[in-house]
Amino acid sequence: MAKSNNRGYAKINGRAVLYGVLIIIAAYYLLPLMLMIMTSFRSMDEIRMGQLIEWPKSFSLDAWSMAWSEVQIGAREDRGLRPYFLNSIQMVIPAVAISTILGALNGYVLSFWKFRGSELFFGALLIGCFLPFQAILLPQSQLLGSLGLAGTMTGLVLTHVVYGVSFTTLFFRNYYVNLPHELVKAAKLDGAGFWIIFFRIILPLSAPILVVTVIWQFTQIWNDFLFGVVFSDPSSQPVTVGLNNMVNSSTGEKQYNVDMAGAIIAALPTIVVYVVAGKYFVRGLTAGSVKG
């Protein structure tokens, strides 16, 4: 009896240590966010008088409205991050949608409609995953220039789609090779063609990998700065560029509270996407490993 009790305590103690460590690690990662949120609620007077890291003595949302629609960024007429934020939305929705659809189709073809050299094609496509952003800046700007898309939203979306297709294809192809091929054979004998099989059989089975791909592409494209700064002009700059321009403007006083609020605004959509669909993200990543 006594022995088993001891063992019970040992178990509880072990758990306590485990959770203790996890809480400390979680706190370590959450601290910067906490600091940002706290600072965004303080007024500049308070920050100037006190220290940068301090509990807020007053609470105001002024910094948030400043960052959103009042602060002067560069020389443009529209104030605040709002126009940049809207640009980002205009960029991210078509870019994610198109790259995901293309990835799904590519994966479908490369898994179920193999052709001579399809493996080579897939291998070549994978090289795209290893290309650093910087390597394609020059050729891509030449291409966009000759297409007449330089500095346009369309050009930016095109760049993200082309760059993202390697990843989305990889995701879908690796998911589809684990689906039983007999499904497609059965559908062929049932009289279904390429598109019917895709839309009625394969796509309904793709929910987990769709979620993974959408989250991945959304975060990649939303958070991208380099393409955003290189391939855009003021009318099409995404929020990452806007935030940079806002924070790095060298004139006047550094408004830490506005900077913090702006940074949170810029990061908010990705946070929301993770919170809403994060569960499916993990599930989708491991979906291939368990036979459905």
């Binding site: 007999e182 499904l183 054979k185 062929k188 459905g292």
Partner: protein
Amino acid sequence: MAELKIDNVYKSFGEEHILKGINLDIVDGEFVILVGPSGCGKSTLLNCIAGLEDVTTGDVILGDNDITYAAPKDRNIAMVFQSYALYPNMNVRKNIAFGLEIRKMPKTEIAAEVDRVAKLLQIEPLLDRKPSQLSGGQRQRVAMGRALARRPKIYLFDEPLSNLDAKLRVEMRTEMKKLHQRLGTTIVYVTHDQIEAMTLADRIAVMKGGVVQQFGTPQEVYDNPANIFVAGFMGSPSMNFLRCEVVRSDNDYAVQLESQGKKFDLPVDPQQADLSAHLGKSVMLGIRPEQITHVMQHLVSEQYITQISVKIEVTEPTGADTLVLARINDQECECRVHPQEVGKVGDSMDMLFNMSKAVFFDEATEARL
């Protein structure tokens, strides 16, 4: 329903030759089984019939139509897959209806057809379930239902029972035979299980290395195997192969067996083989375990039965019979004995060798003599 003619079909993947000249004439309403070890090309042949693989050369003719290059959907063929391949996102009703919808059948007819098939296979209570909610046997039925719904000219089955447990497999086997008798459709069925082949088929095509070794009724294949491979593959426990010498016996020929230091001449039924060209040479005797039994008095005096005393090396009770492993001509030989007659391991035991169904093979070519 229709007859299927497979005419000199070859299939290669690059340098790898999977099918090497397959010829099969399958008549209307026949249940044909393609059987063979894995890698013999039986599934490839089935895929070629279905149109899921293109043949390299040769023709596939269904009824009056040459379908060699037709798309799978235009062949009017239905197939049941080993994994069943039910669409996981659709319930049973939609699974069965899918092929009909694609073929633009009116809704009311589809509903009637689904009901007919469901009744036939007794899956009516399952119609609104998803495949993941079904047991293995139920999935199997649904897969068959999907094939039956389109009323195709010919049905293809690719190892449909191999994912079921042993008991269910035997049950479904009987059911499939009943179904075939009721519907009278042409079926081509692939299996690696020779018992399934024996029990189900009207005719069996035994395949090996991309070649049909023999195409005949189950009894023909069992009693008159074309070569050592077919003889060894069909039947369980498998046929004994004993290397032995051909000697003269009266006006006919006999083969010589040696057991426990004594030699015996076993007269050969001239109807089974003409061994005149092999006198003094060694041939391969093929004799099934059930043709070597314990001594039964009413058989002792029959013409082609010889009594030989053997040494028992191993006994394997199977319930109905006990298999006795003996050593003859210094080769292992299995005998099938009534459990009550079996002696102890190490003892000698008298066996009756019934040569009336024995077969003989050339040692080098492995072909039947």
